[in-house]
Symmetry: C2
Subunit: 204 residues, 2 copies
């Protein structure tokens, strides 16, 4: 199964690359690609990396994770750029990290009216008519949103659980977690994922 991580100019390294690292723990069952608007993109902190696939290619992925960055508000005003994003929650899992929720809102994918995002993005999401939640992860059907860079671990964990199973998520998170904190971290994350996936309000 193939997961595309949409990574734009000005991207937040944490939001695209924590997810990439976690998801790759489930390789080879999962294949992960950075989908970028241009062959190279440079992050908000000046890290230049090469994309693997185009934004258009993400239409063929089994899951799409929309990364965050400092230019998302500009991107959603760019009709040509937005037209390149052909996401379909009927056949794809769709996940958005932090300001990625603005892109889902603009694409009309948050019709349920609420989403997780970061504290900076929250007022801009509200301006698009979507209520920002005070929780790390929200799931509605095949669409998940997460807020706060480190919640990208939960978002990637949700994708692994949906695409493979919970033991695969537990194994990926165990690898990532700090030594000496692995058991408590994994237990916390799995409980949170179960709550979110059951459509419950996540209480951390």
């Amino acid at each position: 199964m193939h997961i595309a991580i949409l990574t734009f100019e000005g991207f937040n390294e944490l939001d695209s690359l924590i997810a990439l690292g976690v998801l790759n723990r489930a390789a080879p069952k999962l294949r992960v690609s950075l989908a970028t608007p241009t062959p190279q993109v440079t992050s908000m902190n000046g890290v230049t990396l090469q994309g693997h696939i185009t934004l258009e290619d993400a239409a063929g992925a089994d899951a799409v994770l929309v990364g965050s960055g400092i230019q998302t508000r500009t991107i959603i005003q760019d009709a040509a750029m937005m037209a390149r994003l052909q996401l379909d929650p009927a056949r794809q899992l769709i996940a958005a990290q932090c300001s990625g929720a603005l892109i889902l809102a603009k694409l009309g994918l948050l019709s349920h009216g609420e989403a997780c995002t970061d504290l900076t993005t929250a007022p801009w999401l509200q301006a698009l008519g979507i209520r920002p939640l005070q929780t790390p992860l929200h799931v509605q059907g095949s669409i998940a949103t997460a807020g706060g860079c480190l919640a990208s671990v939960y978002l990637a964990g949700w994708l692994i659980s949906r695409l493979i199973d919970e033991p695969a998520t537990a194994a990926a998170l165990h690898y990532m977690a700090p030594v000496g904190e692995k058991e408590s971290y994994v237990a916390h994350a799995l409980a949170l994922l179960r709550q979110a996936d059951a459509g419950q309000q996540v209480v951390s």
Copy 2:
């Protein structure tokens, strides 16, 4: 102040880039560079990025963070590569993430005989005569080691505390933490950093 993150071929994205993201929250007081052996390096999961400075340039940094990756055991056998690393704990803070501890061991910088590392690296560190600890972060003077990808947040937090102050660390960690978990995450991390910096065994 300038922090160089040593990032080798086969690097772990999480270990180099979580630290970079956290440290950049303290910009412009801190400037962060990826120091690479070649102009481009490709990660363990196929992410190709451009370095900012050379390995030799790291000798001039105020702090050096040694990233991790899948080739560290090969790197420490490469005398020419190791000769490029001129680290000086008398005038630099030195931090190592996961298998980065092997590089510090080989450079003779772990003469206190113990360090944090990841579970995979632990036996190899032991083979170099250094005792792997079952904790996320260990500090001895100007040298810190961390184990488990997400402990890179603690390692970066330690650098911010030493180079600026604890409120700057708290602000950086607050930004990063998941929405809804920010207060608990920051409190936990600061307590852990204080314990580690006091040379106490960290109890998570």
